[in-house]
Amino acid sequence: MDKVIDFEHKMAAHCETGTLTALLNYNGLNITEPLVFGIANGIFFGYLDSSNFPFPTIIVRSRPGQVRENISKRLNVKLNKWRFKDPDKGESKLDELISKGIPTAAQVDFFYMTYMPDWQRVHINVHFINIIGKKDDKYIISDSYYPRKSELNSDMMRKARWAGGFMAPKGFMYYPDEIPENIDFKKPVIKGIKRACRNMISLPVPFVGVKGIYKFADKIKEWPSLVRDTDHLSHEIMKINILLEDQGTGGAGFRFMYATFLQQAAEILNNNNLLDLSKRMMENGDKWREISYFAAKIGKNRDLGNDRIEELSLLIKKRADEEKDFFKELRKAV
């Protein structure tokens, strides 16, 4: 089967919002990535320490899949979705959709995306790509993280879609089937903002939202006792930069993208308070980026004594203080 769909490839900040935005755009809905992110209350924070990760880690966005589900619910977009136990069935269903000319989003383990630079390839089961064709047993892919359309042979695609493990993709794939015409974004935007505020300041869980940022500031002081050696500590500290900047966040742990959403939301709702808050979020993002720079610098210089870690912890705590106040203000503004 050879078929390549005429699909405009565009890079995006984040894989989940990027694939969904591209599919919505392809199907005629004019919507931006920040608007998808904001309506779906993608902004979040969590400090996670579990055996599913080799080291304690942070997350800066909502649970994978929630963006898709929230957009479907709030914009009334009907998605056709599948999961498959049997790879043969999952593969032939994907091929069938492609042969019908339907670009389809699939969940994969990022590690097997062999077109990406090797230093970026890590096992993350919640990467999303759009599959837009198949030629000579190779899938044609539109990956938000890659500058051009790319290819992956079908063996590798099978490994990636049925990788197993934590948050296993299980061959998950979807495409938007029905999109309402003339969507009024006002209500969904308000809902997205309110839910984001709830997730950041009101959830009674000690490691998520602003409480998660405080926990991160506190727990990072224990990191030196958890590592193999200085190289390992340097790597983990520098990974903070990767998680905040380079792992599909649009910079500053999604804070820059959220500021962009708030600017667009201000226009949709005709609400100047949101414009001020969007500027404030951009400044908050700048401070998160300072944390990234600082982490990279001390990591590279192996300048990882207690005083430096303490300094890093303090910078993180200040973000928790700011975001606690910010999301309270944001809740009042809508």
Partner: protein, 159 residues
């Protein structure tokens, strides 16, 4: 952050970042990764040091190749155990050479698929001499027999 403060020229790793444009509107730009632009050498240096440490531990029979690849690929124990379809306790046994030596080909194949290496790479490490690295290319060719691959070693045309 303003566009000019964020933009980095680094073609090998590009991504979309949201910035403040000249007209004060916020929007996306494509930029190189600042971290990789500045510190990629350091990343590889640490990776090389870690590989050497782990290799020494495999050679001296302190750890198994399963632990070697898991650590190099930064996988969590819970995640890897779930991918293989075994308990964490059993996985931990596979970290020890004495248990690794008893593993079936079926299990080895699972590990090889997960780590995306040929099954033989769980039993041997091929290292090309430093001075020949630019010249030599190695190609693993799968066959219809899952337990048998053909390894082609050649000199690159420009070598």
């Amino acid at each position: 952050m303003k566009e000019k403060d964020l933009y980095v020229d680094f073609e090998p790793q590009q991504a979309v970042y949201y910035v403040e444009k000249d007209d004060s509107s916020y929007g996306p730009i494509v930029s190189g990764s600042q971290l990789s632009h500045d510190y990629l050498d350091d990343f590889y240096l640490k990776k090389k040091n870690l590989e050497k440490q782990l290799r020494d531990q495999v050679v001296s029979r302190q750890i198994s190749p399963v632990f070697y690849y898991m650590t190099l690929q930064e996988m969590g124990i819970g995640d890897l155990a779930s991918r293989v379809g075994i308990s964490k306790r059993r996985l931990k046994k596979h970290f020890k050479p004495e248990y690794f030596e008893k593993l079936s080909l079926k299990i080895l194949k699972k590990y090889a698929t997960i780590f995306d290496v040929p099954m033989i790479s769980l039993l041997q490490l091929i290292i090309v001499k430093q001075e020949d690295r630019e010249k030599v290319e190695i190609e693993y060719m799968n066959t219809k027999n899952d337990c048998f691959i053909i390894t082609k070693i050649g000199i690159k045309n420009n070598g």
